[in-house]
Amino acid sequence: MKQRGNSELLFQVVICFVLSALFVYALISGKASAYIHPRLYGLLWFAAAALFAIAVFMLRFAFTPKHNARPLKSILLIVPIITAVIIPVGVVQSRAISFGTSTSRQNASSFVQSATSSQDKGVVIPDSASSEDDIGIDISSSSSSSSSSSSTVPQEDKNGVMTISDEQFAKWYTDINQNMKKYEGKTIKLKGQVFRMSTFAKNEIVPARYAMVCCAADLQPCGILCRSDAVSQYKDNDWVWVTGKIKIENYQNQTMPVCYVTKIEKADKAKEDYIYFTY
């Protein structure tokens, strides 16, 4: 039979509704955190609401027939919907690491950026992440300090070990690069994914966390250089707990903290895939 209504507009209405629903789903299920920084959640809610409103308003006119409607006009907007639904949430792999943020007023800003040869070893990390990190944390430092002072810089516990919880990583990372001296000689314990670059020596890794600044396009691994002969047994992207002493060294013409590992062990993956710098 004859088609009634304006298929072009109807198609757009459907796209708006689907996009809106996908945004809401991503927000509620928490999958949005894999794509964008949580600070953009508000905007995403706004987008979902706006798209919904637009769809409702358009719906009213979608049933006025149009002679030469071209429903395929907006076909391109289907592409992200399809890829978002079909291709599951993965991990963006970066190839380069930058050590540290600029050390405030020091003139040699401490950055290294070079490329690793191994590219895009996208690893599927199952969504069912363990919510508790039970390995290697003594209760006193983990549950109490991370919950009460999750946003503050970690303190030493009674054994003189500074444990950096997942939530504290971003803050600590900024802090250690700004006030290196403060950490010199201290023993720290932190969790990260094994990250190597082609320029690294055999005994060098960075237990890194991927940091998101805005969206998945700007994910960057963050971490400090660690040295130990034991690191070679861990593969790239393995989650590890690293305990070691901080020394300030000159590495490839820049002053930066290097951790001499005393203990390294396997860890469960962190609850959040990425860390987020908040300001």
């Binding site: 945004f23 637009i54 149009k66 978002a84 007023r105 950055f111």
Partner: protein, 541 residues
């Protein structure tokens, strides 16, 4: 005869009766066109032709010159007559195989489109006749009436043309991108033949069928590829990685794009053209600083600024000012300033430099454009996004007070979103693939000299297309490999010259203009940043 029967059958084998609609206002040449059609040689192949005349034409039909002797003329007195019954009666009593409707210019076209036609009847083409000399006048004064018909037509036939095609073209294309434009009798004849001449119809059908087969095959291929992705899951981590970036960019861009679309729709509905233009043109040079300051009050990401800038241009704001606004807004944006302050903690000079250099480059570009006397009319595409392309949607409610206005804001924003959305999808797809396939080492390795790093950083900015609010953080990570000036170039020029934005601009600006803008920006950026590095004498900020 045999041949004809074969041609007019549809897939199920039923002989189809085609309805061709010719609409337009009084004295637009509808009757003449119909007479002309009936005088074509091929018309004799039809068994019986019915003319439904919805108004009394000034011209009378002349049966003597018609090639088909079996033509019936019926008058319709009012729009209420157009309903299913009429066509059922025609089918029973007259059995025509071609119906030419001379449709009244003041009746809404939906009247006809809504009719429940008999199964074997179909509306084939809708033509719009117009007198070229009065077209614009009607366009201004009849408003919705004409737009309503114009939006639904397949072709517009202009009578009495005297050479001024471009404005007519723009007027039609603004409302109906697909419409065929016929300026001469010759082109009209060719066009008419495509759907009225049986031999041509057959040819068309062949092409159509071939296209359809092609479409089905390609759909199947795409489907198979999509199915294959999960199978080669790990091997395709590249796709997954690129997809993450792709979706990530879109997810952060869509809200900003929507904000931009709403601001643009708001400007369209609530701010009269004259006000905006007056603000920008009150003084010869005052428009430029104003455009800069305005940027500060639009806390929109660079992807949201493109629709606003296009709207300003369409409203008649001089192009140089609108471009200054577009280029400077991402740098002046309070969110961007804040993010720059965060990216370089304790070093506000970076943020200050960013604002200063951004404003400088934008102003210089605006200055160059105004010296070149680039006129908006020459740079906007004939069918630029939204002058009234949304009129089809909003036509019914344009005059109905506050509620109607709010409704139009939403509808126009929706249209804008879909127009720009296509380009942002292409842009972010290209950018995510490039970002995953070009290794960072490609941009690294060359530190010391001055010119090359700037060029490389500009190239990187162009392809990475990161949002202006986050590119400070990315730029920061390049600081060790590249001199400060090059990183500054990356941060400042990134939002101005990036792939996604250019794709979006191409929805309302001509490609030639976009190319010119790129050249101008690069030509300005190099001296500015070279000067900047000379001032710094190689030191850091």
């Amino acid at each position: 005869m045999n041949l004809k029967n074969m041609l007019c059958r549809n897939v199920s084998g039923v002989i189809m009766t085609k309805i061709e609609v010719i609409c337009g206002f009084l004295e637009s040449g509808k009757t003449t066109l119909i007479q002309h059609i009936l005088e074509q040689d091929y018309i004799e192949q039809y068994r019986r032709i019915l003319i439904l005349q919805c108004e009394e034409g000034m011209t009378e039909f002349r049966a003597s010159t018609m090639k088909n002797k079996n033509v019936v003329l019926t008058q319709i007195e009012g729009p209420y007559k157009i309903r299913a019954k009429l066509f059922a009666k025609i089918r029973d009593e007259l059995e025509p195989d071609l119906i030419l409707v001379e449709y009244n210019g003041t009746w809404p076209i939906e009247k006809l489109l809504c009719v429940n036609l008999p199964v074997d009847y179909k509306i084939d083409k809708i033509l719009f006749c117009s007198d070229a000399s009065t077209f614009e006048l009607y366009m201004k004064n009849t408003g919705i009436l004409m737009l309503n018909q114009l939006n639904n037509v397949d072709a517009v036939f202009f009578n009495r043309c005297d050479g001024n095609f471009n404005t007519l073209k723009a007027d039609v294309k603004n409302n109906n991108r697909q419409a065929e434009l016929l300026f001469s009798d010759k082109s009209a004849d060719q066009y008419l033949a495509t759907f009225l001449k049986p031999e041509e119809i057959q040819k068309e059908n062949h092409i159509h069928n071939r296209n359809r087969v092609g479409a089905v095959i390609s759909l199947v291929c795409i489907y198979l590829i999509i199915l294959a992705i999960p199978l080669y899951y790990n091997a395709f981590s590249f796709i997954k990685s690129a997809n993450m970036i792709f979706i990530g960019i879109l997810m952060q861009a869509v809200p900003f794009l929507l904000i931009g679309a709403f601001v643009s729709a708001f400007l369209q509905v609530f701010v009269p053209d004259e006000t905006l233009v007056r603000i920008f043109t009150r003084h010869k040079w005052l428009g430029f600083p104003l455009a800069l300051i305005l940027g500060f009050f639009f806390p929109v990401c660079d992807c949201g600024i493109v629709p606003i800038a296009s709207r300003l241009t369409q409203k008649g704001v001089p192009l140089p000012q609108a471009m200054v606004f577009m280029l400077a807004a991402p740098a002046m944006n309070p969110v961007t300033i804040l993010s720059t302050l965060y990216a370089f903690p304790g070093q506000p000079q970076y943020a200050l430099c960013r604002i200063g250099l951004g404003a400088l480059v934008a102003l210089l570009a605006g200055f160059v454009l105004s010296v070149m006397h680039t006129k908006s009319e020459n740079v906007l595409t004939a069918f630029s996004t939204a002058t009234c392309s949304c009129a089809s949607v909003t036509s019914g409610i344009q005059n109905s007070g506050m509620k109607g206005k709010i409704e139009s804001v939403f509808l126009i924003a929706g249209q804008e979103f879909f127009n720009m959305g296509r380009f942002i999808v292409i842009g972010s797809l290209a950018c995510s693939i490039l970002q995953q396939s070009i290794p960072v080492s490609f941009f690294g390795g060359t530190g010391a000299k001055v010119v090359l790093p700037i060029a490389i950083m500009l190239l990187a900015a162009f392809f990475m297309s990161v949002c202006s609010t986050s590119n400070a953080f990315i730029g920061r990570s390049f600081l060790n490999v590249f001199p400060t000036t090059a990183v500054m170039g990356f941060i400042v020029m990134g939002p101005m010259l990036d792939l996604t934005n250019l794709f979006m601009m191409s929805s309302s600006f001509k490609k030639k203009f976009i190319m010119r803008l790129i050249v101008i920006l690069i030509a300005i950026a190099f001296p500015v940043f070279l000067l900047f590095s000379a001032l710094l004498k190689g030191g850091t900020l």
